[in-house]
């Protein structure tokens, strides 16, 4: 069953075409990878889906509902969470308080503090941050702040999460752990994941399907095997 449908989405920044006629759809419970060089428009695409950036054209629907004209907080409450490539922790709040707000305001709308705390702790455990729950978010290392980004998106009670380069800067062991975590989340929570990653191996490993962007243009889509064999992709990546 399709959970996210992106049709002919375009975005221009002044004269720069950051996205051109991007189309794809994501099935519920799958992991969908997004690939492309720096500046290809991946983060912009996340912004358009999650409502921070208004597209110049095209349409997006999530769980059958069109997202056009919805604010980011409304989109989040529909069950769509995102992380930010350049992390945005609530620095002067504790790690636990970061996820509690998420649980209180996100799709889960857990108004009671006790319930929100429970949901928050679970999200922290999912990403391995539980031991740091009482630290200030600003004091975390960058890779832990990336984990916090994921935990915050999870705590909203999202059915679909958009993960933007959450593995950048992790060691090989940590990448393997994170891959395991994402598989487990899909299994246990029935989560759908849309993921941008530069760590190619991990992306191939994780994704059921992959979309490749080049200068805002979709150049290939399919299973990891199909994509690595695609001649457009080979041309762009290996000249």
């Amino acid at each position: 069953m399709t959970i996210l449908e992106v049709q002919n989405v375009s975005k221009q920044f002044g004269g720069l075409k950051a996205l051109q006629d991007v189309c794809f759809s994501v099935n519920e419970g799958t992991i969908f990878g997004l690939m492309g060089a720096n500046g290809a428009g991946k983060t912009t695409l996340f912004g358009v889906i999650a409502g921070q950036i208004r597209p110049n054209g095209g349409s997006i629907s999530f769980a059958g509902k069109p997202l056009a004209g919805q604010r980011p907080d409304q989109i989040c409450r529909l069950g769509l969470g995102r992380t930010f490539q350049i992390v945005r922790p609530f620095g002067n709040l504790t790690v636990l308080d970061n996820v509690i707000v998420s649980a209180m305001y996100g799709a889960a709308r857990t108004h009671r503090l006790a319930d929100a705390t429970q949901a928050g702790r679970r999200a922290l455990e999912d990403v391995g941050l539980a031991p740091l729950a009482d630290q200030l978010a600003a004091s975390l290392t960058l890779s832990n702040q990336k984990r916090l980004e994921i935990a915050r998106a999870l705590a909203t009670g999202a059915r679909l999460v958009l993960l933007d380069e959450v593995m950048a800067g992790l060691t090989a062991t940590e990448v393997a752990e994170m891959t395991e975590t994402l598989f487990r989340l899909r299994r246990e929570r029935g989560l759908t994941i849309l993921i941008i990653e530069h760590v190619m191996g991990a992306l191939m490993n994780l994704s059921d399907r992959i979309l490749v962007l080049d200068h805002g243009v979709p150049i290939a889509m399919g299973s990891p095997e199909q994509v690595v064999a695609d001649e457009n992709v080979l041309k762009v990546y290996f000249g």
């Binding site: 409450r77 969470g81 709040l93 209180m104 305001y105």
Partner: protein, 302 residues
């Protein structure tokens, strides 16, 4: 020892002691207590917007001034309690109307915009008064100081209770998320615009009523005094000296301010203002946690 029941008990004792001040039978102490309650009410209200969301308002005198103006005008038509309610409503309405455009402006630009906006309204009211041929207005049969004091004390208690409730509520957590990172707050589902507007309106209502009460106390209204930017300045300075983000901050700040002002204001007004300016700079740069934070640290070590 600094647990929640302890704090509630401490606040209740302070409020109870303040309620006894009229029994002293001293006009002087009643006047001082009135001023103490006034600043507590103003600063707790201001904090509801500025300490929680980080949108520092340098123009809160505008709500206080509008409240004063509405009271002095409406007193011809209705009894005092209704006029006071109208003062609060007018201030809240003003915040509601200007809130959406004003709250789109961020960071330092918001700060300076609130200042400019307050000056604009002040000049508009002054122009209006001149046009109406009024240079100042007098009030003749104002309620007794004792009655006004009790009203002010109730406002101070309500404002403090709202601050305490907000600090641990879902609403307060949403505001804190906005202060920390507005884009991220919106991405996790916080309805940023609505919450900011709500806090803005809520932070305007009590200052409106306070403005009305103060006009009743002085029995005199002149626009340039009612909208005096020194009021906004004093609110911000006292809040920062007391400590942002703690319910006890405004209380400590007010205590400090009122002592300083009783010692200096009447005889050396400029020196008093200069000291406030200096305190503002020193606390912002070197004691950002304020007196409340210092005391907490001191208690922790003891």
């Amino acid at each position: 020892m600094t647990g929640k029941p302890f704090m509630i008990a401490a606040f209740a004792i302070v409020a109870g002691l303040m309620a006894l001040v009229p029994q002293l039978g001293s006009e002087y102490w009643l006047g001082v207590a009135f001023i103490v309650a006034m600043w507590i009410a103003l600063i707790q209200s201001w904090s509801l917007l500025s300490a929680t969301t980080g949108y520092i308002s340098l123009g809160h005198a505008v709500f206080y001034g509008i409240g004063a103006y509405v009271l002095v005008v409406s007193l011809d038509w209705m009894p005092v309690p209704y006029a006071l309610a109208l003062s609060g409503a007018a201030a809240g309405l003003l915040a509601l109307v200007v809130g959406l455009p004003v709250l789109r402006v961020k960071g330092p630009y918001f700060v300076i915009l609130t200042f400019g906006f307050a000056e604009l309204v002040k000049n508009l009211v002054m122009l209006l008064e001149t046009r109406l041929g009024q240079f100042s207005r007098m009030i003749f049969d104002a309620p007794s100081l004792e009655a006004l004091y009790y009203a002010m004390l109730v406002l101070a208690v309500i404002a403090t209770a709202i601050a305490a409730w907000t600090a641990q509520s879902r609403f307060g957590r949403g505001l804190a998320a906005i202060r920390e990172n507005e884009v991220a707050a919106e991405a996790i589902g916080v309805p940023v615009t609505r919450l900011k507007l709500f806090a803005f309106v809520a932070s305007a209502i009590i200052p409106g009523i306070v403005g009305g009460l103060l006009v009743l106390r002085t029995s005199y209204f002149a626009a340039d005094q009612a909208f005096d930017p020194a009021v906004s300045f004093t609110i911000v300075t006292t809040a920062i000296v007391g400590g942002l983000g703690r319910v006890s901050g405004p209380l400590l700040g007010t205590l400090f301010l009122v002592i300083l002002s009783e010692l200096l204001w009447a005889r050396f007004p400029q020196a008093y203002m200069m000291i406030l300016g200096g305190l503002l700079i020193v606390f912002i740069l070197f004691v950002p946690q304020g007196l409340a934070g210092l005391i907490r640290k001191g208690l922790g070590r003891a």
